[in-house]
């Protein structure tokens, strides 16, 4: 065991042996998660960049396509995710206070909300499928530019909107699925009593991840669903 200037603490079974103490381990894990989230920002950033450029070029067609998205379901999903971030925070709080039962409840709620989000997404995508808005051979977008009933939509431009829509929401949904997986793991271990006031770093860091995925959605929603709705 390496000596360190800090007083030797009781050997927490969760302490990995290459760290000097729990504090170093916690700080390292936390920094690691923040850096990972920075990479995710760059990752989604590439798609956001492509989206913003095409939106600028093809604004009328993008506006029309955006209107065809279900704003009610989108809003509900936004609320669902925000609530799920709340339950995550409450779960971490419960761990800080040493309350095992509460942790489990909030983690389970988070999972339920996360799955609800994915379910609603599935419904939205299915309706897109039925409307022939999925890019590919059978793509067809009926409609006119909002406010200009005699100006038909350019099919190619609309298809680009939907390509980016599915790419972005699909990538987001994939991250949600991974999040659901992570939180299932956490739920199991929380139930086993693994997370205590001294050690709940996995909860905190996974919470960061979940909040991040939530924030991505909070950007996606207005960008994709709320273009020019007032017309």
């Amino acid at each position: 065991m390496p000596d360190s200037p800090i007083a030797v603490e009781h050997h927490n079974p969760e302490l990995r042996h290459h760290f000097a103490d729990m504090e170093q381990q916690r700080e390292a894990s936390s920094l690691g998660m923040w850096l990972f989230l920075a990479t995710e920002v760059m990752f989604f950033g590439g798609m956001f960049c492509a989206y913003l450029i095409y939106r600028y070029w093809y604004f009328p067609d993008f506006a029309a396509a955006s209107k065809s998205l279900d704003i009610t379901l989108g809003t509900v999903n936004t609320a669902v995710l925000i609530c799920s971030s709340l339950t995550v925070v409450l779960a971490v709080r419960a761990a800080q206070l040493g309350k095992r039962h509460e942790q489990v409840v909030y983690l389970a709620l988070t999972l339920v909300l996360g799955l609800a989000f994915l379910g609603i997404k599935g419904i939205e995508w299915t309706s897109k499928f039925r409307e022939h808005h999925i890019p590919g051979a059978s793509f067809h977008f009926e409609g006119a530019v909002p406010g200009h009933p005699d100006h038909p939509i350019d099919q190619q431009h609309a298809q680009i909107f939907f390509s980016l829509y599915f790419a972005m929401t699909g990538m987001h949904a994939l991250h949600m699925v991974i999040g659901v997986g992570i939180f299932s793991y956490l739920l199991y271990h929380a139930w086993k009593g693994r997370y205590t006031p001294e050690y709940h770093t996995p909860l905190e860091n996974s919470g960061l991840y979940w909040h991040f995925v939530d924030i991505i959605w909070i950007y996606l929603f207005p960008l994709l669903y709320l273009i020019d709705r007032k017309k």
Binding site: Y58, V145, H148, D150, H151, P152, D154, Q156
Partner: protein
């Protein structure tokens, strides 16, 4: 010169400061003034080179007025060129000495690049858009033309030549036949053939804006933007008319994408410009 100086310094130091018994190395921490000097002076030199290169580039990307125009369509794996006067060439371009030549380039498929090493010009040729390049031949001769952007199997076979002729020989070549009328006149044929003239009349009564004298002028669009009517604007208006609607007109122009070839597009552009 800089590299020679540094090489010399390194070799000098390597020899002069070889390990010698009893002569320890002298520990030198550093010297901020020296660091700043050899940062700022190179930066100054770099900025000079930058400006020099930028000026050349600016000239190279600004075709002069009155240049003869040649329309180039690149495709896997050949160059198709058409002179204003109507001559078509494949993989070869004949031009006279002393006259500015401006090329208006587009690709039928993937990205290519029009490269004439002897003229120091190179310009990527893109599908869906026009790009331009120009040169002023000063010496008669035959010069390599290469494709300089990888474009598939026969990328290295997509080569040709630019033949610069003395004016008299160029005239002879021109009258050697093969011309089917100038590009502008074949453009006019396409214009009539495809029914463009039904809406785009020379008076103001047409359902579409008049095209007379349009080229190069600013155009007011219905969404408030003002754009310049250049080759890319004309091309876009034919292929995707809904993209830019002229103020005061309805968006009823039919889409011609898929109905008109690159050569016909070039001819139409030439016609509108005339």
């Amino acid at each position: 010169m800089v590299s020679v100086a540094i090489f010399a310094a390194i070799v000098l130091f390597a020899v002069r400061f070889r390990r010698r018994r009893g002569v320890p190395a002298e520990q030198i921490e550093g010297s901020t003034p020296l660091e700043l000097t050899w940062s700022i002076i190179p930066l100054g030199i770099f900025m000079v080179i930058f400006v020099w290169g930028a000026v050349i580039y600016f000239k190279e990307r600004t075709p002069p007025r009155g240049a003869t125009e040649v329309y180039v369509v690149a495709k896997q794996w050949m160059w198709k060129l058409q002179h204003e006067e109507g001559q078509r060439e494949i993989n070869e371009l004949h031009v006279p000495v002393g006259r500015d030549v401006k090329m208006i380039l587009t690709s039928q498929d993937v990205i290519h690049s029009f490269y004439v090493p002897a003229f120091r010009i190179k310009q990527d040729v893109l599908p869906g858009r026009y790009t331009t390049a120009w040169f002023h031949p000063t010496k008669a001769g035959t010069y390599h033309l290469f494709c300089a952007e990888y474009c598939g199997t026969q990328h290295s076979g997509m080569i040709g030549q630019v033949v610069v002729l003395e004016p008299a020989q160029y005239q002879a070549w021109l009258s050697g036949g093969g011309a089917t009328g100038s590009m502008a006149s074949s453009g006019q044929n396409v214009f009539l053939q495809l029914g463009c003239s039904t809406c785009h009349r020379s008076d103001t009564q047409g359902r579409g804006p008049s095209l007379a004298g349009l080229f190069g002028k600013p155009v007011q669009l219905e969404d408030g933007r003002v754009v310049t009517a250049d080759e890319n604007y004309i091309r876009e208006s034919i292929l995707t008319p809904g993209a830019k609607i002229v103020s005061g007109f309805k968006p009823i122009m039919p889409v011609f994408q898929g109905l008109v070839s690159e050569e016909q597009l070039n001819a139409l552009v030439a016609y509108v410009k005339s």
